[in-house]
Amino acid sequence: MTKTMEIEQERHVLVIFPHPDDEAFGVSGTIAVHTGRKTPVTYACLTLGEMGRNLGNPPFATRESLPDVRKAELQKAAEAIGIQDLRMMGLRDKTLEFEDDQKMMNLVTDLINELNPSLIITFYPGYSVHPDHEATARAVVRAVRAMEESKRPKLHCVAFANNTLEEIGPADIRYDIRHVYDKKLEAMKAHISQTIWMLKDLEASVAEEGSELHDRFNYEHFWTYTFDEKDKVTEIKS
């Protein structure tokens, strides 16, 4: 297992994910550490998770009311981990891979040009399961790859596909976030419409030293994206 390391001091952190709650599980502890140091963090959340399936039975929301529910949850989660610059980008859940690829890339380029981040956090292309995750990851990789090499921000990616370990190996970054776990838990709880089914059992399991969940929620893992032979993201077809 990769050794735990210190979180580096950043100039500005840009977090890009497609769905409210994507930030909560994998990276909210890391974000809380950055915001705790007063490092500016911008979270660009591309959709409102309009097509989420958890609507309850009996239902607590409808297909039409879910976006507002999730928007409020997203704002609450951002507050829990100290994000002051939350941007809802207005795209629609489950449609990102069908958007114009150049438009998706430009969206990221514009954010980079405006914010000049030293670190971008997103999903790892090819290993992030959901088609929206993959489309987001590709857009970020293309935008960063188009930059002059010396000006590129670091790119830390989240991967969780079942074949991740055998194909790209273990994460090269492992942070101990136990000291901000309460904030992470608060962020996960903020997305209650999506997490209620798992939070019931989660707290007890996470507390259990040595369990898989203990490791998954007390430590956060990233794969540094490198623009070498491992970079499999294609150029945009014109």
Binding site: N54, L55, N57, P59, R63, E64, K94
Partner: protein, 115 residues
Amino acid sequence: MEPILPEKVQELINTFAGQEVYLHMETTNGAYASHFNEKFFSAGAYIRNAKLTYEHGKIVGDGPFRVGLKLAIGWVYAEGLTHYGFDENGHLLMAGHDFDGKLAVALQLGTTPFK
């Protein structure tokens, strides 16, 4: 959303018949189905704001229910519907929620577009 009362929903379906309506329809097993179970064949479809006119529609079954809408030269069909309700624009929302409270199917109709 309330559990479907077929007589009530039939009346509502009748009120939208014979006029131009906007339709949202989807079926889904979730984007993670094949991640959690690699033997699971994931499939789904949705259409949002399709504009159509149906001649008549019916709700049938003992619950979960099935709805079919007869178009001039085609059909709309959904099964597994358990609940109905309205949004703030008076759209008729019908949905099938599975045993875990996850949406499995939706069929929604209204005289104005969905957001």
